[in-house]
Amino acid sequence: MADEFILETHGLTKEFAGFFAVRDVTLKVRRGSIHALIGPNGAGKTTCFNLLTKFLQPSAGRIFYKGQDITAVAPADVARLGLVRSFQISAVFPHLTALENVRVALQRQHGHSFDFWRSKSVLNRFNGRALELLNDVGLSEFAAVPAVEMPYGRKRALEIATTLALDPEMMLLDEPMAGMGHEDIDKIAALIKRISAKYTILMVEHNLSVVANLSDIITVLTRGQVLAEGHYAELSKDERVKEAYLGAGHA
């Protein structure tokens, strides 16, 4: 079971003072797939994400990653297990250059991170790998540019490069296309498709059509609960999904 599904939740619930943001969600993410979590605003997608990466502690339910119960594991340790997330608002280190952004991620696995007496030139040995990663996401010419000066779409690509630097087994992307123009959406979609050959991806997306071609399986959330699950072709005909998105009047 652990081999087929890399991430599973059982009865995952998050309650905020009587309000159930996420209620009894059971999710199974197949190893090597692109799994999309979609739903209208307020459906609990991001809460669900925060629960999976332990940035929030669930009120009830269990989370298993590679067969291991991670319900009580700290967020930094979740990342160390190979389950790495991105954020809805682009999460880069704005005043570090693109190269330094990626290097911070590379540095963690290889020690030295507490060495305050050593020159940071010891980090130069990560430059080659960092440039490779930047190159992979089409950012090689931005290596020396502070992240704050990069265009929005590039920041998202940088974020993915930084995440890839950790060599994760599974990536959780929180609305990777949010706030992007069409051109950037196509680029990032192609990038996600390409990296999915090596990693399992769970992504949250607001827009159903964006994930249509990208994902292997889609889970639809509404009001904190799983409404439906399946391929885009099935879901796009599902009356309940239409209703959730458009409201009862349009169904």
Binding site: A76, L96, V104, R108, S113, K120
Partner: protein, 322 residues
Amino acid sequence: MTAMTDNALQASPRAMRDEMVVFGLMAVLLAIVPWTGIYPFFVMQALCFALLACAFNLLIGYGGLLSFGHAMFLGTAGYCSAHALKVWGLSPELGILTGTAAAALLGVVTGYISIRRQGIYFSMITLALSQLLYFIYLQAPFTHGEDGIQGIPQGYLFGVFNLANATTLYYVILAGFLCGFLLIFRTINSPFGEVLKSIRENEQRATSLGYKTDQYKLLAFILSGTLAGLAGALKVFVAQNASLTDVHWSMSGEIVLMTLVGGLGTIFGPVVGAFVIIAMQQYLASFGQWVTVIQGVIFVACVLTFRRGVVGEIAHYFRLSL
């Protein structure tokens, strides 16, 4: 690929070169002070505060943590050094070590408590802890309360250098300042410094990359407290006393002021800020209580017109890294 690597890395060594040139300039200027006729006592005092402000700046400028209780390190190190020198009769080097070690220990304890909270809550906890300590020092017999520890013997450093000699003392204080400054400079430009900066920029992201951010913040806090302690221990030899002024909350406020005036998050800013504030206190002393008002006006002017501080504005204008 090689060309790209060079390009990507050019920014960093150039910045480092600017900083080394300015550091050399600063060291030379400070070294010739005894021959210029400038009152050495004033410069020594300013150097102690400069080191203190630099230590504070390591925490806020590079770790994003605003401590509002840094006077506790200055005062604790001062009292412990003074006690070790006067009552235990230790040599100057051991006296400095005692004070600095006491500040380090205090850093471990107060850091462990305070870094668990963020933003304003962190600042409030540091303030509360320093006030707690203030009242302990007010009551504790070894500090002599309002009188403080007076008439501290200066002695011979390593049994050789006579610290009662003003010029010798000046160079010892300068050496202490430069060592502390270089350690801070190195920390900022170390692998640890890189992680610290990334936590300042985006703590959640650093966590999601697998960094246990509390541990890094704690180490920064301890380093900052220890170096602030070194400043306090050196100051004992200059002032030859240790008093409640150094643990008072208004001292913590002055440290913030020095750093802001000079330039928060710049390497040399706190040094400039400390000299400006100490010079004001020295040369405007005839205005009495008005010094505080003048300081307040400067603070407001600084925040309104040159937010980056003196050094920050210069660095920005000339596109330098200082």
